[in-house]
């Protein structure tokens, strides 16, 4: 099981500003190990962010997203105390879901 995501969600005016740092190898499948064997690809393919039952951002990723992926975005309609839920699924079907409470501005 991967380590928890670090999520920061804060009000910025009437919008919620979200920053998330995920813990994932994001192995490209192009790299070779010390013995010269190809390291198989292992990377996050889908990311979904929901708030109050509504998807506020979804993404498909390839192997060229950096290791320990970072994402920053903003959405309208959130209030302090409400939750932002972020989930990812990688190419091996491993998944992780974390949530954060929206903080004041």
């Amino acid at each position: 099981m991967a380590d928890p995501m670090r999520i920061r969600a804060n009000m910025a005016g009437d919008k919620v500003e979200v920053r998330v740092l995920m813990s994932h190898e994001m192995e490209t499948g192009q790299r070779k190990d010390a013995k010269g064997a190809l390291v198989p690809a292992h990377f996050i393919q889908n990311v979904t962010v929901t708030h109050a039952g509504k998807t506020v951002l979804s993404a498909q990723w390839g192997t060229s997203i950096s290791k320990n992926p970072f994402m920053h975005f903003r959405f309208k309609g959130g209030k302090p105390g409400e939750k932002v839920i972020i989930g990812w699924v990688d190419n091996r079907g491993e998944r992780r879901t974390d949530e954060a409470v929206i903080g004041g501005g």
Binding site: K32, S64, R74, K76
Partner: protein
């Protein structure tokens, strides 16, 4: 034999139902496939092929899309990129890296209420043009920025 035929009948009507639901607008295509991964697009090896795999036939260069990224990236493994679209009805933002082994890096779906703005970090194999492709109101727009890479982020 009998049971097999029934299975086929069932399968047939199931698919029919799905098509009906889609036709009735109960399932929007992008929602229906939200958890899917566009394999063809991510395996594309050129900007044109990626655009095609994403569903666009062509793209117009637009000054309303901004890429904020360093001109020179010392470490190709971590290149911060911010894309902001000023185009009304922006629905999706994709990041394409022309000279990477696979061109498409990420495709973000921007629902209504979410700013057409995204920051993330990507890997770059070598100095390359970055294309920010925006889908707005069903049409495709893009802007380009070159980033020089001192140390590649793939292989190594």
């Amino acid at each position: 034999m009998e049971s097999k035929r029934r299975d086929i009948l069932k399968a047939g009507s199931g698919a029919g139902m799905l098509a009906l639901a889609a036709a009735a607008g109960l399932l929007k295509p992008r929602e229906a496939f939200a958890q899917q991964w566009n394999k063809a697009a991510f395996e594309s090896k050129s900007v044109a092929a990626t655009l095609k795999a994403l569903g666009g036939s062509g793209s117009t260069e637009s000054a309303q899309i901004q890429i904020t990224a360093p001109d020179i990236a010392e470490n190709g493994a971590v290149v911060p990129i911010t894309i902001e679209s000023g185009i009304p009805k922006t629905q999706a933002i994709a990041i394409l890296i022309e000279k990477n082994p696979n061109t498409l890096s990420a495709d973000f779906d921007i629902p209504e209420g979410t700013d057409p703005f995204i920051t993330t970090r990507v890997k770059m194999a070598e100095t390359s043009n970055i294309y920010a492709v925006v889908m707005a109101d069903g049409k495709y727009f893009h802007t380009v920025k070159e980033i020089k890479v001192t140390l590649g982020g793939c292989g190594g």
